[in-house]
Amino acid sequence: MFENIWLVPLFPFLGFLLNGLFGSKFSEKQAGIVGSGAVILSFLAAGAISYQLLSLPEASRAVTQTVYTWIETGAFRVDLSFTVDALSAIMLLVVSGVGTLIHIYSIGYMHGDRGFARYFAFLNLFTFSMLILVLADNFLLMFLGWEGVGLCSYLLIGFWYEDKDNAFAGRKAFVVNRVGDFGFLLGICLIFATFGTLDFDSVFASASDVLPPETATIICLLLFVGAIGKSAQIPLYVWLPDAMAGPTPVSALIHAATMVTAGVYMVARCHVLFLLSPMAMNVVAVIGLFTAFLAATIALVSTDIKKVLAYSTISQLGYMFLACGVGAFGAGIFHLYTHAFFKSLLFMSAGSVMHALQNETDMTKMGGLKSKLPVTYRVFLVGALALSGVPLFSGFFSKDAILWKSVVSPLGGFGYWVIATGIAGLTAFYTFRLIFLIFFGRSRVQKEVEKHIHESPVIMTAPLGILALFSLAGGYVGMPHFWDKFDHFLQPVFSKYIENNLFERSEQLFGLEFGFMATSTLVVLLGIGCAYMLYVVRPELPAELSQQFAGLHRFLFRKWYVDELYDATVVRPLAVVSDKVLWRWVDVKIIDGFVNKVAEWAGRLGATLRLMETGLVQNYALMVVVGAVALVGYFLLR
């Protein structure tokens, strides 16, 4: 199967071509089958490859396949080649697996939409790009996938392009991502300038020998700029909440489970470089932590169901970066893996709620839906418990792994743990705020909408059920000490090129770990309790509180005024400078003005000289004579 790695991305690409070229002639059913079928085939291929990978000895679990040489000129050579190791295998399975479920769910969700085939074409193109990103064996090919997913994100956010806001959100996502890509691109250049190659294997193998620490820091920071853009970290996170304008399955697939985690994947992939630069690691950890905090605070007050989930995603991505930043790449990937399940579950159940309420996203217009949407309620609850990190759900294990490693790592510290645990409390609070506002209390649904409330069809609930199962049980592969399969599986990847003994000590501290775990669990339960108090027991209290702390509330509600800040400092000045200064002044007035002035003066000179042409023959004769005089004079005086 290893010589057929290329099949994995090929299937979605074929699906894209079919739906893209002939979609207008397909019925919904055909388009849906083509779209979903392509991803299922891809999932099966990925499964087969991963299974085969397991059969190899641990040390040699990395296979590379080169398809052809993409760009080659001079010393620069980039192949179109794929590599599968434990890390990419996990990513492959997550992408194609969750992707499959979301494709199937979409058949129900997008039913009746005008652009049904277009939707599936884009979704397939996304899957293709994401698989390329994950499979890439060099930085440039990864960048191809990286940009490809960005494009699909743009296309899908603006899928309902007739609404201006959607189109704007799509553009914002693309442009902000491009800012990140700017860094990524330069990082790639610097890597080539340093190593003379872009192949992962060659770069990582020689990194610890040839890479000076300062260069390592610069490379890592540049790469991390790319990750910041893609994974919506401070200061480039602003696009993700707006990206919720896209169809909900898109939010689940792209903006929760897969694309936004590409940054984490990239940092994990480049762990060799990052480990060589403690400073870059610190930057990653601090930015991750701060982002997690900021996003969680905003999620506390937002009333839009999808926005809350979006901020929660940003916050969870922050956790993942925190893990990477303290050197616990395995934990980061583990959280990525569990997060993919429970967050896409949450998004899609939110989609199910919206589906029932005619695309209402405002939580103030929901409530009491528990009995009307029983299946959705249950799976939502599972997702919420997993997200909050309630013990025995998948999120618990991954979050706990991060919390624990952030305190024991030499790169981490107790401060990290405190803040991260606090954020866990906030997470629990806003997650259950969601649950209580949507499913509990009395109904605030508008009358005419209320009549049509109905549970979603099986084609939507079935994927939800499967995801719920994984959210519930998916974490057990990473149970610390008892059944630590996940970390074990990834271990060869993270110790292949560089010795990573940051956590040797922590293996012995079982008791301490349990203590920290218990504490964080208490904090989580406290958060849930608060939410219960505020939104079930005394539902009038939140309004009072928000009035009491009006300034703080507004500050959070307006998302720390970051959008406004960018608008005032970057967007607007740029537009004004470009328009008023560069174009109308420099271009038109100065440069072109100069050109036209030259032409004008030439014209004036001509008009003046024209006066010499009197038409009188004697004047011409006089000029001849004067000319002769001058000529003779010149030769005389020379």
Binding site: L186, L190, F192, D587, V595
Partner: protein, 511 residues
């Protein structure tokens, strides 16, 4: 038997033009079909150039005939990896332009087609000439039909634009003529052989003082043609006023002549001057990249926007060329082809919408994606190519250029790399305002989607946009030996320290 392929493809358009003279002006159908047929034949005739081109640095398909022996000028043509793709791009775009002018030339179609064909000869001649005199002749020949195309078939302000275009270019080319003569006499005085042959002149070492001035004279001419900031202001006017076909040829091929001139003449002739001026030119290139993009961002007119985007893209080309390393120049060459394809296609698309709607103001559109989805799709692909999305052609060129610059001068690479952001900003903004949103203007609700003819002329371009993005090596491999040879020549001449004294030349003294 030796077939004079280059002469055939260069002369055939003009022969066709002469043929057209004998057709009745009213017989537009015949005129169109003859032009289309013959320009396609020229393209097909140029394909063997690609397939039988050997990947070496030598000039190939050369032909040498005596022309004016007394002056030492010869009819010497030939191509290497640098000019090969310029020739192909020209022959490829011309039939497309003919097809694009199928319905939108309302008066004197015959004259238009004749101008177009003569223009093709002029451009091809510029790219294949290996004799400076011949080169200069073609350089001027191409100016005249372009002047007519803008001045006769252009928009409202066409005379101003045409004259501006002509004078701008002419100022540059006169300086170049003087420089050519200096080269000629210097070389003649040095070796006793008075010749305009590029390959022979290339062997000569010029003293530094000369190089500076000659470089400036050549460089100004090419900089205007490219156009480099701040010599670009003729471009928006010319583009806005020119008919669609004119814009496509102008953007697609004509602008490349400047960059080509830098590669073919400035670099190998005046390496010391190049060394001396590189910081300045790189700065101008980067300024052009950013400036062009920012100004494009605020343009209310689609064609102007694309015109300014050309300034930005060609900044990349110049940046690549003056990195003087393999990746940079290769990237620059590929980017020249890319720009020809993507900007050419953008002008075609703008022309199509203009033909339907008779406006190019962005504000007059909105929500078109719903009404004309096929158009929107093509527009999207072309736009993405222009943005430099990996997997499409634009990325290959841009990335190689940035990489090349990064290996030489990091600062320039960093500023140039911001171009990826700016391009996305203005292109997406334009796309959003034209295609997305509500379809709220009555006139736009009656728009027809692309006709089979229009799709047919876009598909070949799209094919190459994707092909170059996915498998650029097919092109890069053909260019590489010539590029390496060029770099070698420049480097070896720069290292050679014996710059001969300038006293050998008559009538021209050092400052």
């Amino acid at each position: 038997m030796h077939i004079p392929l280059l002469t055939i493809i260069t002369a055939l358009p003009t022969v066709t033009a002469i043929l057209l003279v004998f057709l009745k002006r009213e017989n537009e159908r015949a005129i169109k079909y003859v032009t289309l047929l013959m320009s396609t034949v020229v393209f097909l005739a140029s394909l063997p150039l690609f397939f039988t081109f050997q990947s070496t640095a030598d000039m190939q398909f050369t032909e040498v005939h005596a022309w004016i022996p007394a002056l030492g000028t010869r009819y010497h043509v030939g191509i290497d990896g640098i000019s090969l793709f310029m020739v192909l791009l020209t022959t490829f775009l011309t039939p497309i332009v003919v097809l694009a002018s199928w319905t939108n030339i309302s008066r004197n179609l015959k004259g238009y087609m004749i101008s177009l064909l003569v223009l093709e000869t002029g451009i091809l001649g510029v790219f294949v000439s290996l004799d400076l005199f011949l080169f200069y002749v073609f350089w001027e020949v191409m100016l005249i039909p372009m002047y007519f195309i803008i001045g006769i078939w252009g928009g409202r302000n066409r005379i101003y634009a045409a004259v501006k275009f002509f004078i701008y270019t002419f100022v540059g080319s006169l300086l170049m003529l003087v420089a050519i003569l200096v080269l000629y006499f210097y070389h003649g005085g040095l070796t006793g052989e008075y010749t305009f042959d590029v390959l022979k002149l290339q062997e000569t070492h010029f003293p530094l003082g000369y190089q500076t001035w000659l470089f400036l004279a050549f460089g100004l001419s090419f900089a205007i043609k490219v156009p480099m900031f701040p010599f670009h202001t003729w471009l928006p006017d010319a583009h806005v006023e020119a008919p669609t076909g004119g814009s496509v040829i102008l953007a697609g091929v004509l602008l490349k002549m400047g960059a080509y001139g830098f590669l073919r003449f400035c670099l190998p002739f005046f390496p010391h001057a190049v060394e001396q001026f590189t910081p300045l030119i790189l700065t101008l290139a980067v300024v052009g990249i950013i400036y062009g993009a920012l100004v494009a961002m605020v343009q209310p007119d689609l064609k102007k926007l694309v015109a300014y985007s050309s300034v930005s893209h060609l900044g990349f080309v110049i940046l690549g060329i003056f990195t003087l390393n393999n990746q940079g120049i290769q990237g620059g060459l590929i980017q020249m082809v890319n720009h020809g394809l993507s900007t050419g296609a953008l002008f075609l698309l703008v022309g199509m919408i203009y033909e339907r709607r008779h406006t190019r103001r962005i504000a007059d559109f909105g929500g078109l994606a719903k009404q004309v989805p096929v158009f929107a799709t093509f527009f999207m692909i072309v736009m993405l190519s222009s943005i430099g999305l990996p997997g499409l052609n634009g990325f290959v060129g841009e990335y190689l250029i940035i990489l090349g610059a990064f290996l030489e001068q990091r600062v320039f690479a960093i500023f140039a790399a911001t171009g990826v952001v700016w391009t996305a900003v203005y292109m997406l903004l334009m796309y959003q305002r034209v295609m997305f949103g509500k379809l709220d203007k009555e006139e736009n609700k009656k728009l027809l989607d692309l006709s089979p003819r229009e799709i047919g002329l876009l598909v070949p371009i799209i094919f190459f946009i994707i092909f170059i993005g996915v498998y650029p090596n097919a092109f890069l491999k053909k260019m590489e030996p010539s590029v390496n040879h060029l770099i070698e020549v420049v480097k070896s001449k720069t290292l050679a320290s014996d710059i001969r004294e300038p006293s050998l030349i008559i009538g021209l003294r050092e400052e």
